[in-house]
Symmetry: C2
Subunit: 350 residues, 2 copies
């Protein structure tokens, strides 16, 4: 074991503060990573404040991790010391169930081990996330980061990136399709970039005309302001696919109306109760609503390779670790374009 | 034009009563059918009583029609006098839009012309359904009925049959799959028969253990009583596909829990508001909820051919036309196993 500096919440009502944690020495399959940047996901805030219940304290959040490999175990083949590496939302899974066998560790039948707010498999030991100097992770849950990208802006790809890339791939979004991205935040802005790079005609669907303008800069072809009843009416039946990134329960019926015959809307943000859906809105048009959860490790690697090829990164605002509590407050007001990323050098220097 | 006897509702609050209607003389593409049997769909009742608004009176319900061809127009090739023929929920559509071109007339962009409670295209003339002696329909909307089946029990296939067959086909239900049919009524009992004939392992999911027993007779392999919390818990994550035939808004969350990774539930009955769906129930497991509406004419023919091959018909109770008002009352109490069919001879003799 070795000690590293971190930032942790001691309890649901405590601000994040400096904290010392222990990391395991890398075993034969482990990768030891010196963390350089860590993205700030909205779920970091929800978990640190125990908004969803069952939070485990002390908690070191952070699951959008990039850094450089310091050391690898003897059986590690895919990475070596000096490589750029990434860690996302998972650090382990059962590895035996059908979803794990199918490279869909995010749907592990036993539940995956989260990067933080979780316990090591077969142990009571808490796992700690990326608001820390170093992390040690089994190679299956470490991805290679392309060297040609702006590293600090890569961090959010490990959660916001894969969460939007995976459904666009799974539902085969591409050329000739009209795709709508609903909501422009950490997830939505990545959805626009990916759908555009995949060749789809992309419409940003947002409540805010200003955000809509920014979406054009990100790669959207059009903007549809969802508060504009006439525009929403004109857009009925026009979309093959909608990626809905709204992070809270809401009324999806107006969006269902935008779908073509056999169109699908996929939810990636809203975990809570949606407003009542009218059956008729699915039955007429054979439409569907589905959900999607991050992505498996193989697909996470595919996403990063795609980003390397298409030069895609997140739009970010870099902060120091001692600004994290303030950043959480700004997150609550959606005051970020579009992701905070912590420069971990500020933690090492503290 | 020629006159035929029918039964009609004069207004939303009027019982059905004898009524005389005019049918057009068959044009070059028309098929004139002597009606032998007409099924009684739950929607007949809803429309005759204007439960959904916008009902057109006088209304002659009935869209599960079988009979014998009397005469065909000069351009009719697929049927000839003496053939057994069927007419379902549609008698026309625009025939030019993408869905029509794709043999999905039920999703016609201009809206299909219903067999009753509708107007002829480009005219104010009301169209009248199958509670009548004869009907004249364009050949595109007439199907051939296999001669080897019990004709009176074929009638409900034209709506209840295609409504359940179409989604089972579209979602590729077959061997090696675990399929649940939710709700046992006119639709559900056909769902059981079709899913069984397609080779799936079929579970009837119902609130009633007695109905469950009857489902075994219809071809179900298992019964899951949805009020049995322990059984519902044991069945979590076991189903590839659920066909939900419940005819009213309800809580679909407990059924979503039954689906496997990438499982789909398709609604064919509930047009109204569902209880709030929790996004997390779709996101974890990448599950989907969709809807499906009857089926196109080509698929309706395919369904009847499938029924001929597998010797599938509905379970019915035959009534006289003067019993229709009483039958509606019994429908409201779900007191039918599983479809009323009117013997149109009773109308001709009246």
């Amino acid at each position: 074991m070795f000690k590293v500096k971190a930032y942790a919440a001691a309890a649901a009502d405590a601000p994040l503060a400096p904290f010392s944690i222990e990391r395991r020495d890398p075993g034969p399959h482990d990768v030891q990573i010196d963390i350089l940047y860590c993205g700030v996901c909205h779920s970091d805030l929800h978990q640190a404040r125990d908004d969803w219940g069952g939070a485990l304290f002390p908690m070191v959040p952070g699951h959008e991790i990039v850094g450089r490999v310091v050391k690898v175990g003897e059986h590690v083949v895919k990475l070596k010391a000096g490589d750029l590496a990434g860690v996302g939302c998972m650090v382990d899974s059962c590895r035996r169930c059908d979803p794990c066998e199918a490279d869909l560790e995010q749907f592990c039948c036993e539940g995956f081990t989260g990067t933080y707010n979780s316990r090591e498999r077969g142990s009571k030991a808490l796992v700690f996330g990326g608001y820390s100097e170093q992390i040690v992770v089994d190679q299956r849950f470490v991805v290679k980061v392309p060297e040609n990208l702006d590293l600090q802006a890569v961090a959010p790809l490990l959660c916001a990136g894969i969460t939007t890339f995976s459904p666009l791939r799974h539902w085969k979004v591409g050329k000739g399709q009209k795709v709508g991205i609903v909501g422009l935040g950490g997830l939505g802005h990545m959805g626009v970039k990916f759908a555009h790079a995949m060749g789809a005609h992309v419409t940003m669907i947002t409540t805010s005309p200003e955000k809509g303008q920014d979406a054009l800069r990100l790669g959207a072809d059009e903007v549809l302001v969802s508060r504009d009843a006439e525009a929403m009416k004109q857009a009925r039946g026009k979309f093959d696919f909608l990626l809905n990134t709204i992070p809270v329960g809401h009324d999806i019926n107006p969006y269902l109306a935008l779908l073509k015959l056999d169109g699908a809307m996929v939810l990636v943000g809203a975990l809570t109760a949606l407003d009542p859906v009218l059956g008729v809105n699915l039955i007429f048009g054979r439409k569907s609503v589905a959900g999607s959860l991050i992505g498996g490790m193989a697909e996470t690697q595919e996403m990063l390779d795609f980003c390397g090829e298409h030069n895609i990164v997140s739009d970010i605002e870099v902060i120091r670790i001692d600004e994290i509590n303030e950043a959480y407050e700004r997150l609550l007001k959606n005051d970020v374009r579009y992701r905070f990323v912590i420069d971990i050098a500020s933690l090492k220097a503290a």
